[in-house]
């Protein structure tokens, strides 16, 4: 075999997390390559709604990290790195019925506890927004969140100098030795000092023992209409509950209605355990649409032009996996973001770049980040089988 190409860092996966890691490393002067089996934003990042939302995060470390990432995303956007990808906009959370109204109380309390960049600027009846209908009993208006379509962020990050894109090129495996890592592609090998794996659901192809499974969410896209009818995303409180509890306890479906810049609406979402992007069904579509139309009656005049399932990488404890492979300083994992990767990607990219350079995590989030280390599964396995 001919001389192997050498990169300072190889990033496996050209989704939004891999792209952010690549940008941060390239910005610090490293020579990096990004490898993807298909191409940029080919999986969850290209099939997601792009909410950069703190409100929807599980209370605790995840909500605090999301808050820090939102601030940092805004900073990157104002520096021009994410120009055209991120835009600030209000977000709306609504509820109907006892369970959802209680969830809205919990949301207000959570945001107060974080005291971060997201503020409640309105809380009351639906009349705050003229376009809303009878399905909205109470509406909370939030300021400070934003929207960032995954594929736009990926393109923005990867356009930086110093990043070599390699696709379509499935990674068949890797070996670690004293001096670095060898990455095996179908037709060649690449050498690197450090491998960062940001492979989403495909992580288990390289790390089969990690408890990551595909979780599908059906998404529906409408035709175009005049843009600007709804100024920000409209999320049912049930969606917040769905993130922490089993979905079948919900009386009403967890809809999220996202206005796109094209004047289209993206409507989601279900949570199902499979990995088929074409698996959509009329009963889910109808359930989500019935509720959506009651919340936003103008949807009754739209047509659904496209339907698909976005496949997210879910972890058994519903928390992402971020950190070095236990016992290996040359291999770092960043995966399992389920429905939160767009929001967390900026911060994760920055922190992984620090890890690769052997720097400690940023002080203010170090403790929260530590809870996401892959070490938690190694320990669990040793307890269970060791």
């Amino acid at each position: 075999m001919s001389a192997e190409t050498h990169y300072d860092v190889i990033i496996a996966g050209a989704g939004i997390v891999g792209a952010s890691v690549a940008w941060h490393l390239a910005a610090s002067g490293a020579r990096v390559a990004v490898i993807d089996a298909i191409g940029p934003a080919a999986a969850a990042s290209g099939a997601s709604d792009g909410a950069v939302s703190v409100a929807s995060k599980k209370p605790g470390p995840l909500a605090r990290l999301a808050s820090a990432s939102l601030l940092y995303t805004r900073e990157l956007a104002s520096q021009g790195v994410l120009a055209g990808a991120f835009h600030a906009r209000p977000s709306f959370v609504f509820g109907q019925g006892e369970a959802e109204l209680a969830a809205l109380d919990a949301l207000v309390a959570k945001l107060r506890a974080i005291s971060g960049p997201v503020h409640v600027t309105g809380d009351g009846p639906a009349a705050q927004l003229a376009c809303l209908g009878p399905g909205v009993e109470r509406l909370i208006t939030l300021n400070g969140e934003g929207h960032m379509p995954g594929h736009k962020a990926v393109r923005a990050y990867l356009s930086a100098p110093g990043i070599t894109p390699i696709w379509p090129a499935p990674i068949h495996g890797f070996d670690i030795d004293d001096r670095g890592v060898t990455v095996h592609l179908a037709d060649r090998r690449l050498r690197t000092g450090h491998l960062v794996s940001a492979l989403g659901t495909a992580t288990t192809e390289l790390f089969p023992t990690l408890p990551i499974m595909p979780r599908a969410g059906q998404l529906f896209v409408t035709d175009r209409g005049a843009p600007g009818l709804l100024p920000g995303s409209l999320t049912a409180a049930a969606y917040l509950v769905a993130k922490t509890e089993a979905p079948d306890v919900l009386p009403l479906p967890p809809v999220v209605i996202d206005p796109l810049t094209t004047g289209q609406f993206l409507i989601g979402s279900s949570r199902e355990n499979h990995a088929d992007p074409n698996r959509v069904d009329f009963s889910t579509l109808r359930r989500l649409m019935e509720r959506s139309v009651r919340a936003l009656p103008l949807l009754a005049e739209r047509r659904v032009i496209r339907a698909f399932a976005g496949i997210r990488a879910a972890v058994s404890d519903s928390l992402p996996i971020i950190g070095n492979l236990p016992g290996e300083t040359r291999v770092t994992l960043a995966t399992g973001f389920e429905g939160d990767g767009i929001c967390l990607s900026a911060l994760v990219g920055r922190e992984i770049a620090r890890m690769v350079h052997g720097l400690p995590p940023t002080d203010s989030i170090a403790a929260d980040l530590a809870t996401l280390s892959p070490a938690r599964f190694v320990d669990a396995r040793q307890e269970a089988w060791g």
């Binding site: 191409g39 594929h151 949807l299 739209r302």
Partner: protein, 421 residues
């Protein structure tokens, strides 16, 4: 009552299949989005309108309608009814006049063909349509549009539409044919006799009316000017007309249909392979009988050799009209619209680099993201972006089969409720 077999499309293939399924004893529901039966070829004229069908065509159609009628109430027909798709649970959605969600026993997709039209500057202007679109209007109304018509592109359909316009007293100003169908006189010899008879009828009518048939001539651009259309031919000639009808071939209309494995879904006629009217009828019959046998646990009937004969004839026709399209595509001006729905140009495509992935084409380029799902741009994008090593195209079109009005989705009668899954 046992669930019906759903046949989508009341053209030659769909109705032939329906007759066979019903003859085997199965209840059949035939739906079509059009107001009349007949599909692309036998679209029935409005009451009192002049029919363009020949005696032989009328005979074929009335034979088929008699077969359908003979099955009585075993076949239900719903017109102005659209098939929205079938999901992975086997639930089908119908919208329009019949609006329901239900689980058919099996589905026959006989959705016919879509036309292929090469992008050209000006092809999105009002007054520019496909030759098939013009033809359906001629067949329905029995009258030609007001004003001058230019036919351009490639394929035998241009001659058929030209002859039909002539019969209606409004011969086209010219037919521009990019191929050279008359340049290789030996190739047509193997065509079946009925193809010859049909072609001779069209050509003699066009020649009598002195319609110029310009071969090896492409329509390169269309402009709107003072209420008319100015069409430029590759020969340098200009045509000032009111309508331009374009046609560059026929492809199966197989978009937006992911596989459903809980019930049999078969494609028949042009929707399986675009082989023309004669083949569509045979394919419908054979496919309908084969599906009936499969559903009833009987042995499948043997294949009809006619289908193979038609396949060979169509391959020969394709050779007769063969011409180099790549050069035409490569010479398009940068601002030519490629994706009609989203108004994306060749320049927009080029900014994605030489070999964009399907995801990049869709997400970054917004190609094929419109309501037609790439039915009219997908083939061209694949050709314009394929390097030697990769052929990404626009990826698999997404479900549903056609845009679904939210109001229709919500008002559909749900007949699946309470069923065990």
């Amino acid at each position: 009552m046992s669930d019906p077999v759903l046949v989508v499309g009341a053209g030659l293939a769909g109705l032939s299949a329906a007759a066979e399924l019903a003859r085997a004893g199965l209840p059949v529901l035939v739906v079509d989005q059009a107001q009349a039966v007949g599909g692309a070829f036998h679209r029935q004229p409005l009451q009192g309108a002049l029919s363009l069908a020949t005696a032989a065509q009328d005979r074929r159609w009335s034979d088929l309608m008699a077969k359908v009628a003979a099955q009585g109430s075993r076949i239900t027909l719903a017109l102005a009814t659209q098939f929205g798709g079938v999901d992975h649970k086997g639930t089908a959605l119908l919208t329009g006049r019949m609006n329901r969600l239900f689980r058919p026993r099996a589905i026959v997709l006989a959705l016919g063909a879509r036309e292929s039209v090469r992008p050209r500057p000006g092809w999105t202007l009002p007054g520019v349509e496909t030759a098939g679109s013009l033809q359906i209007r001629l067949k329905t109304l029995g009258e030609a549009p007001q004003g001058r018509v230019l036919l351009a592109g490639s394929g035998p359909l241009l001659l058929a539409v030209g002859a039909q316009l002539t019969k209606l007293g409004s011969p086209p100003v010219a037919i521009l044919e990019a191929g050279r169908p008359f340049a290789r006189p030996l190739t047509p010899i193997g065509l079946p006799r009925d193809y010859w008879i049909e072609a001779a009828a069209y050509l003699s009518r066009l020649m009598l009316a002195r319609v110029p048939i310009l071969t090896n001539t492409r329509l390169t651009a269309i402009r709107a000017e003072g209420g008319t259309l100015v069409a430029e031919a590759s020969s340098g000639r200009r045509f000032i007309v009111d309508h331009v009808a374009l046609h560059d071939g026929i492809r199966p209309n197989d978009f937006g249909m992911p596989a459903c494995d809980v019930l049999p879904v078969v494609r028949l006629g042009d929707c399986r392979e675009a082989l023309g009217a004669r083949a569509a009828m045979v394919d419908g019959q054979m496919g309908g009988a084969a599906l009936a046998a499969r559903l009833l646990g009987r042995t499948a009937p043997s294949a009809d050799p006619e289908l193979a004969r038609q396949t060979r004839a169509q391959a020969r026709l394709a050779r007769i009209y063969a011409h180099d399209v790549t050069a035409e595509l490569n010479n398009l001006p940068e601002d030519t619209v490629i994706c009609r729905c989203e108004a994306r140009t060749l320049k927009d495509l080029r900014t994605l680099g030489p070999t964009p992935t399907a995801r990049q084409l869709r997400l970054d380029g917004r190609f094929a993201m419109g309501a037609c799902q790439g039915r009219f741009c997908g083939d061209w994008i694949a050709r314009l972006t394929s390097a030697e090593t990769s052929k990404p195209g626009i990826g698999a079109p997404r479900w549903p089969a056609r845009p679904i009005a939210v109001a229709d989705l919500l008002s559909a009668t749900d007949e699946t409720e309470g069923e065990t899954q």
